[in-house]
């Protein structure tokens, strides 16, 4: 994919000159590149990986293992530069930026002419993209070796799986050995995972207390660009496209609005009053970056400030909230909301959730996650020797010759909608029917075997067995048949979506087809494109395409260059999901106000009317049912009157279930009555959860603020402030104060007025929308 904008000189102008972010200290970068060329980066610390590191820019943090360390490393000189620049004249800034960019560009050319790849590789990823795979791999291997020295525990954590994903060039896989290897890999990876629920600190943190979340990004491969570069690129691209369309960007959201949405989108709930206060009183310029890292679980070691009216959340530590939230999203994606919910289901939903929770808590590289889910073997019952929670994804989709598994795998991991091509050539893109069945052929060794206990399913195993082809004639040529619409029977052999073929042998000892598929997926560019688009849609409200999982020439993305660049950077980061989330949440479009219209100069940017999104404002959207539930808990402390975790989960599941209806098809499709319907409104108005939340009973939020603030003789206004901040992350307006003041004046019982106000706030559009 070649884009005329993919030129690194042009990029510089786009990013720095047009994007409006503060200019970087280019001299530092040039110096560092020089030093790198001269034979090594100045040692910053004993544990620093010997990969190229960009110099910190602005308030953003840079890549690397020791995030907080990096922050401190921001030199005084740079701080002074930015402080000075902040209030300064725009003209001076722009000219400085242009001059700096030019300098860098020239410098880049000079180095390039000298054959000095480092600077270019560091500056942007183009050079790296153009490297032959083996060269890139060599570098990775070298880095890995060096890393292994610096961080010995890493080589235990993900050694051979990583090898699987990026096998050394020319590796002649010996199938037998490889198969054994995989089993060992999985055992190693899962040996901790089969331990008992729930997640405890030792699972999340490494043995030496180092934060596990930071390590995957610590240099599986050296990312070409710093976080700041990438964020600047996002901002620049969005601005340029908006300008081309004649639109302006909405002003930034308020601090509190941003704080609320970043909590919702990263950990699935609104901020507590304490979360909000802590953020608002923080005056440091990197406060957003730090909050993001805290929510991502990088900063959990620090004890959180806690006051008496902050509810004890079931998952108190952010890293757990994060892991739980993303587990919920992915469970729904992988097996649907109803998957494994029926009694005696062969799908063990809890086991899949446990697997996902551990994966997200450890920030497992995304390609490894995909590899493990698609290539999973083993049983779905915790405690068994071959227990592997990941098998439950495919166990949910194996029926009908694994055609649902084929479609789901393509859709979820590759962003390709191939289900129609099961029966006929795709009407709108160049997918032909053979490609569906060629992909399907990868799944045809796969079987489930059940162990019964009396009439009940005790456990289900996902296994691979020799497949002799549908004719059964020749296992060395194990074929799949499909019928064209004209009734002619056709034959298909395993071929990946990019045309890669594998040996046709159907004997597992010769070729483990599903494992081959998992490897192809894990190394596919399409994997990165699909997840970038999915996460972008999660945070910004609309993806670059609609639907998010339908990529292809028939459905061009709104910002192709941005999607492509983010996908490249994501892959280069070691498929680090948390870094991708940082880029997006730190970006300008994510921080814009959701107000838009003629006054803001962007009335035309409204994807709900069918125009492609331009991201000139934050798109208001319904909270997910799960976000709303957890937010209600946070805002009300309703769960404090509940039982243990299992009991709470049961109540939550029950609450959620009332919104979702299965269509009763083999694909487990579902409809929702959640999104802004009467059903949802009734639940919010009269449901049990709201009733308890607004009853002021002991342990509830209302009870607590009445106890603390009420007893200390505060005015009703203070109590109201608390309610508004807890529910809406803002203070009441003057007219709202007047209205409630009138109610208070007209009624004797202050506490019932508070209950009524609280009820009103929780039922408002402002509460249930993510804005």
């Amino acid at each position: 994919m070649s884009d005329p904008r993919d030129d690194f000189i042009l990029d510089l102008f786009l990013e720095e000159a047009l994007s409006g972010v503060q200019p970087p200290d280019v001299s530092q970068r040039v110096l560092s590149a020089l030093a790198a060329r001269a034979g090594g980066v100045p040692a910053a610390g004993a544990s620093a990986p010997p990969s190229l590191r960009p110099i910190p820019i602005g308030g953003f943090r840079v890549q690397g293992s020791g995030f907080s360390e990096e922050r401190r490393r921001l030199s005084l000189r740079e701080r002074a530069f930015f402080r000075g620049a902040k209030g300064d004249k725009a003209l001076a800034l722009v000219s400085l930026a242009l001059a700096a960019s030019l300098l860098l560009a020239l410098g880049g050319y000079w180095f390039f002419a000298q054959g000095g790849a480092p600077l270019v590789a560091q500056r942007n990823s183009h050079a790296e993209r153009d490297l032959p795979p083996t060269a890139a791999k060599d570098r990775d291997v070298a880095n890995d070796a060096a890393l292994a020295k610096a961080e010995p525990e890493r080589s235990i954590a993900a050694p051979d799986v990583a090898n699987d994903l990026n096998p050394p060039a020319g590796e002649a896989t010996e199938p037998n050995q490889a198969a054994t290897q995989l089993v060992d890999d999985r055992r190693a990876a899962e040996s901790g995972a089969s331990a008992a629920e729930p997640l405890d600190a030792d699972d999340v943190n490494g043995p030496d207390g180092e934060l596990a979340g930071a390590s995957p990004s610590a240099g599986l491969s050296a990312s070409a660009s710093s976080d700041a570069d990438i964020v600047a690129y996002i901002n620049g691209t969005i601005r340029v496209r908006a300008k081309d369309a004649g639109l302006r960007l909405s002003p930034p959201a308020t601090e509190a609005e941003w704080c609320r949405r970043v909590h919702l989108d990263l950990i699935g709930r609104i901020p507590t009053i304490d979360d909000l206060e802590a953020f608002l009183v923080d005056n440091s310029r990197d406060k957003r970056s730090r909050l993001i890292d805290r929510l991502l679980g990088f900063d959990d070691s620090r004890p959180r400030k806690r006051s008496s009216n902050a509810p004890d959340l079931p998952a108190d530590r952010y890293v757990e909230s994060y892991a739980r939230f993303w587990t919920t999203l992915w469970t729904n994606l992988l097996i649907g909301r109803n998957g494994g919910m029926e009694p005696n289901s062969p799908i063990n939903r809890e086991a899949l959730q446990q697997y996902l929770r551990r994966s997200f808590a450890a920030n497992k590289p995304y390609n490894q996650l995909a590899f493990e889910l698609v290539g999973a073997h083993g049983s779905n019952l915790p405690g068994e020797d071959d227990y592997n929670g990941a098998v439950n994804f495919l166990l949910a989709h194996l029926q009908e010759k694994a055609t649902p598994a084929t479609a789901k795998t393509a859709q979820i991991f590759l962003g390709l909608q191939v289900q129609c091509t099961q029966c006929h050539n795709h009407p709108f893109n160049d997918w032909k029917q053979n490609r569906f069945w060629e992909l399907n052929a990868f799944f045809r060794q796969t079987r489930e075997t059940r162990e019964m206990r009396g009439p009940d399913v005790r456990l289900v195993r996902l296994v691979d067995e020799d497949f002799a082809g549908e004719s059964g004639d020749d296992p060395a040529e194990a074929e799949v048949y499909y019928e064209q619409r004209n009734g002619i029977l056709q034959v298909a052999y395993p071929t990946f979506v990019d045309g890669t073929t594998i040996d046709r042998d159907g004997r597992v000892a010769q070729v483990d087809r599903r494992r081959e598929l998992a490897r192809l997926i894990a190394r596919s560019e399409q994997l990165s494109l699909a997840i970038v688009n999915r996460l972008w849609a999660h945070f910004l409200g609309h993806g670059f395409t609609k639907p998010v999982d339908d990529l292809g020439p028939h459905n061009p993305p709104s910002h192709p260059e941005l999607l492509a660049r983010l996908a490249r950077e994501f892959a280069a980061s070691g498929h680090d999901l948390k870094r991708l989330m940082r880029w997006i949440t730190l970006s300008e479009p994510y921080g814009l106000s959701s107000r838009f219209g003629p006054k803001q100069g962007n009335a035309a940017d409204d994807p709900t009317v069918g125009t492609p999104p331009l991201f000139t404002h934050f798109y208001v959207r319904q909270m997910l049912a799960e976000q709303l539930y957890d937010s209600l808990l946070v805002a009300t402390g309703a769960h404090l009157t509940e039982g243990n975790y299992t009991e709470q989960q049961r109540i939550k599941d029950e609450w959620l279930r009332q919104f979702f209806i299965a269509f009763g098809t083999d694909e487990n499709d579902e409809a929702t009555t959640f999104d802004g319907t009467i059903t949802q409104t009734l639940v919010m108005m009269n449901g049990e959860l709201t009733r308890r939340a607004t009853s002021g009973e002991s342990g509830s939020f209302l009870y607590r603020i009445a106890q603390t603030d009420g007893k200390s003789g505060s005015e009703p206004k203070n109590l109201l402030n608390q309610l508004y901040r807890a529910a809406l992350a803002r203070y009441p307006s003057k007219s709202e104060l007047q209205l409630v003041g009138g109610l208070l004046g007209a009624r004797d019982d202050e506490s019932t007025v508070l209950e009524d106000v609280w009820w009103a706030l929780l039922n408002s559009n402002e509460f249930i929308l993510n804005h």
Binding site: R485, F663, T677, I678, S735, D756, A760, N765, E766, H771
Partner: protein, 434 residues
Amino acid sequence: MFRSSTVPAGMTRRHFMQHLAGASALALPAINFTNALAASAGELRKKHKACILLWMGGGPSTLDMWDLKPGTNTGGPFTPIATSGDAQICEHLPMMAKQMHHMAIIRSMSTREADHNRGRYYMHTGYVPSTTVEHPSYGAVIAHELAEQVPNLEIPPFVSVGGGSVGPGFLGMTYAPFVVDTNGEVRNLKFDIDQSRLEQRLLTLKAVEKSFADQGRGDAPKDHDKILDKTISLMTSQQMAAFKVNTEPKEVQERYGVIGNAGGRMGGNTGFARGCLMARRLVEAGVPFVEVDFGGWDNHANIFNTFETKLPQLDQPMSALIEDLDQRGMLEDTAVIWMGEFSRTPRINGTTGRDHWARAWSVVVGGAGMKGGQAIGATNEDGTEVTTDPYTSEDVMASVLKSLGVSLEKSFTSKNNRPMKIANSGKVIKELFA
């Protein structure tokens, strides 16, 4: 909705809502919710057009129900029987056979969408899924067109029983399906505080709601505000009694198969029976569109054994509904559609099942003046192709709309200002109106 100029007289509650909309006055009007209602309930018109869609989720094999091919490779084991109309149908639909003079089988349906989601969307809207426009479904279109004929209706005009249907698209959440269980329980309908406090709550709520909706953040905040009003209206409505099928006489419940199990024919599966009875009650109460879902037709395996138990569960309630509508004089104003997203392959697969097939299949319609007792169009000997003019989702939709008196010249404007012809310019199936 309460801002519209068609606020009927005597609806004090709506008057109250206007106060809330203003959210200025602190003086709370002393009103009595239920009295206002009792007054308006009697005003409901008896005669109005309506449509009931019996939605067969999963894609039922119409070759084994409405268009049998006995003695062919693809025909399956079932025998056709004579009906009260001209067409023959499956032996496992004997009660429907007695009602077929009211119904027409369109045997020459030919569509392109054989994926569940796409097929469901296409058959519900007349449009194939698009990345830029969300089209309104049958229920939303008909609710939109017919809502005015029962101005005092407080039940949402589009009710979906036992399934999710397809949404309102660009017509907006006001025309979204109101989804209820087949048991007729609408959850969380009751509020447990006294009325004066509810009024104060609503007053405070509307203040927050309106100020947020007025901040220029797009449609979502405004839509929520509208739904809020409808919900409040519903919470205090006596019309909700229409959902209570248990209040029907015992014989009626038995005829539908809600109770009594009809000598084992229902196999304990009474959901669809309840849905059909509820549909009649809702139409009687003035609801212009009711969808009743009956899923489980995705029979890739073991189809014939499944049909022997499943067809009776369809036969009894569906025939009861048509008979009941007819006896009450409602059938001449009520269109009934029976369809799924597609049908199934004539070829019987290796697991004695049939796979997805959209190329040649049947839909059954009747009522509201559509001519029953006939089979329209035909398929070839083994059921793989249609041999007469093929009909599409658009054509069925156009015909049903015509039967309801909705103008086919009507054009909507989608949110991106594109004109959208109602029923996607489908052609009326002329045999239905001969």
